[in-house]
Amino acid sequence: MLNILIPLLLAVSLVLGAVGAFRRIAMWRRGRPSPVNIMKGLASIPRRYLVDLHHVVERDKYIAHTHVATAGGFVASMVLAIIVHGFDLASGILGWLLLAFTAIMFVGSVLVYRRRINPPARLSKGAFQRLPKSLIAFSLGMFLTTLPAVGLMPENAGSWVFALVLVVLVAWGLSELVFGMTWGGPMKHAFAGALHLGFHRRQERFGGGRSTGLKPLDLDDRTAPLGVIKPEEFTWNQRLGFDACVQCGRCEAVCPAFAAGQPLNPKKLIQDMVAGMTTGTDAKYAGSHYPGQSGEHQIGSGGVLVARKGEALVDPDTLWSCTTCRACVEECPMMIEHVDAVVDMRRHLTLEYGDTPGKGADVLDNLIATDNPGGFSPTSRMNWAADLELPLIKDRERTEVLLWLGDGVFDMRNQRTLRALIKVLRAARVDFAVLGNDERDSGDLARRLGDEATFQSLAKRNIATLAKHQFDCIVTCDPHSFHVLKNEYGDFGGHYTVYHHSGYLDRLIGADRLSFAPAMPGTVTYHDPCYLGRYNGEYEAPRAVLKALGLNVNEMVRSGYRSRCCGGGGGAPVVDVPGKQRIPDMRMDDIRETGAEIVAVGCPQCTAMLEGVVEPRPQIKDIAELVADALTDRPDPRHKADQQEPLEVIA
């Protein structure tokens, strides 16, 4: 009886699985177009799965081993089961291999089961609680069914009851693992996840690459939607990405807004996107909600994800709580792009609804009218440096370094950092110049607030200004400007060599152009800015500079790619969504844990956020300030380096 039923079950489940797969693919394809190379994408899946995905999964050793045993065991058993039972080719080693792999899978399944006995809060329950039992059912059922095939058990052993039990086990396992995979069960993460690896919207992310710049909107195309408000307005591969979510909650565990009690949970957000594509309700969601929210939510009238008035799946405050720190994206084993989705929806809220909350509307108005978020006169950009006699690039034919000052010129705290940086550059005899009043806001803030139009206007005008001058590289002490100049101006024709000042100082030190006095006493820790670290992968240079100063860095538990945001990114301080605690306070607790007296930073936003924490607390010092304090050689009389330049130019 089993020799007929098992192949039949296999065939039925495969057919149902194939039907489900076509339906699911058709559902994803209802999104906007996004060109990908289908064959190349499919071919890249195995390597991306085994290398890039496993690299992320590996950060949790327990689940990595469990996953290898379960997933590896399942894939091998399934292929072998089709050969052994489907085509009745149990001869030789194949049957034994099937036995071995089902046994491995069984061990993995038991480990999954153990994990689910008292699961951490970040894991979703619901159907995911059923999954380990289904895994056990499949591996056990398949194992026992294979025993007679290799001759370890006589054919037709046991009663018909035993046979029936086996059939039920195998049927249960196959329904969960094969057609459940394409019909929206918990195993859909395997199907959607594998395809997502191949057809990812940011192909550059794989093989050690990086892609963090936001994708531009085509503002000239009047038919294209401005941002996203309906699930169909995401590109099809974004939709595919949402569906790949396995609800492991790693994003939830690292999200600073979630920890601060602001109404954002990246996992729930992605599940709401899935709900928008499928059932239209979050009733079946069985994980943590957005802090401060509960109950069921339905898709808004007209199929909108975020309602202009009243309730929909996602509350606007959820989107505005995001600091765009990318911690969720960095941590996601399925390579889902949460920040892209958040900004896509923010774009609609700002560009179509005109609903940027808090001070957002003021800031955007200022950016439009004065090219800086504070609404200061653009002719007063250089007032802070009246005594520094900074060389202007428009007076020079070319310069080695264009120093991009950023909007920190209007902030008295950041002016200290800039002064320190200029002192260091002069000490190293760097040939530099500034744009002066011709500089504008980089557009970072406008873009993260969803105002793509203002961003593009600023970007295009900045690119036109930069095109008028000759320089080798741009140096800036603002990681946000750094990121935008380096990664986001390219789409508009601006390609530059850009250094964050920590990276440039590291090069100066490496070239032996700076010398320092012995290190001052005191312990130091370093706070990685999101836009330098996760956005640009620069973790080493700032640490190398601190080391060169003779400082020993007491690392925080959450540092490097796991650094916690200061709360200052993505316009979060501008829209200021209330929570239970402030993100910078939590970060300061991380800093206090190290016992450091000084926290080295490399970002004006981080400086402002961390200095906003009430004393007593460690001192906040920019890397440029620490370097300037440690310099031994006195800087040259003011612009000696500058005076040398024109001679060169004439010659």
Binding site: L219, R222, L226, T350, L351, E352, Y353, G354, D355, T356, G360, A361, L364, D365, I368, A369, T370, D371, G375, F376, S377, P378, D451, E452, A453
Partner: protein
């Protein structure tokens, strides 16, 4: 009374015309919405069941269109741009347009941000149309038939409730509710309908030479205050009219004496 209510909430609704000018940013001079006019549009958008039309009379150019898009971004479908020459007196054209379109209520800012900026336009229109004029409108409380209940701004944050017969022209005070954010999408989609209209040259203006204003030093406000409350009151004071007194039913002699005494107190007269 009942009948009036039903008229107000009838399908016709109240027709509101908003006269908008092109704004000029105070620091950079870039074109945009004029703040007070944008507040007028905001007030109009909050009138229930209203039919809103926006009018701008002026020289059509790219800067003008860019500024007008700021109003469209508030969710307005179209603006009527009445074409005028650069040196025109727009009051005649506006009067004619208002006479034709017969709005129940005309809203506009108190003063333009550029050009003559005398703030006299609404008064001239009210006079020539024979409609009542309300200065310093801050909110519209209700519309019943051809009567509107509105709040008018007075110095020091005081408000006066007025019942006004419609049609009327109201200038919107800068303390009225802030204008909503102007969004890019609607601003790009909104229409600017041009209406050709004869321009009548502003003879009075032609005789004047216009130059950029010089920033005048602020007059020091000397506050002799003993408490935080006094300092706050001094800082929040809108104008120096707080100490005024209302004289009614007094003889001409008494009135003249009161004025004379005030001028002496303010050091205008030193007799």
């Amino acid at each position: 009374m009942k009948r009036h209510e039903s008229m107000a909430s009838g399908s016709s609704g109240l027709s509101v015309a908003v006269l908008v000018s092109t704004g000029r940013h105070s620091l950079t001079g870039r074109p945009g919405r004029a703040d007070q006019d944008a507040r007028a549009v905001e007030l109009a958008l909050n009138v229930e069941n209203s039919h809103i039309r926006l009018f701008h009379a002026g020289e059509p150019g790219e800067e003008c269109r860019e500024a007008l898009r700021g109003y469209l971004g508030m969710g307005i479908d179209s603006i009527s741009l009445i074409e005028q020459s650069a040196d025109a007196d727009v009051s005649a054209a506006l009067e004619e347009i208002l006479r034709e379109s017969k709005p129940g209520l005309v809203l506009t800012g108190t003063q333009a941000e550029q050009g003559e900026g005398s703030g006299l336009l609404p008064y001239m229109l009210a006079e020539s149309l024979g409609w009542s004029l309300i200065a310093g409108l801050v909110s519209i409380e209700s519309i019943e038939g051809n009567q509107a209940t509105i709040l008018q701004a007075l110095p020091r944050g005081q408000r006066r409730r007025l019942k006004v017969r419609l049609p009327a022209i109201a200038t919107v005070d800068e303390s009225a509710a802030r204008a909503r954010q102007s969004a890019f999408g609607p601003a790009q989609r909104g229409r600017i309908d041009t209406i050709s209209h004869d321009s009548s040259t502003d003879e009075a203006l032609a005789g004047l030479s216009i130059k950029a204003a010089r920033v005048r030093p602020k007059r020091l406000k000397i506050v002799k205050s003993k408490s935080a409350r006094d300092r706050f009151k001094a800082a929040a004071a809108k104008s120096e009219g707080g100490a005024g007194q209302v004289l009614s039913e007094v003889s001409a002699q008494e009135g003249a004496e009161a004025i004379f005494k005030l001028l002496q107190d303010e050091n205008v007269l030193s007799i």
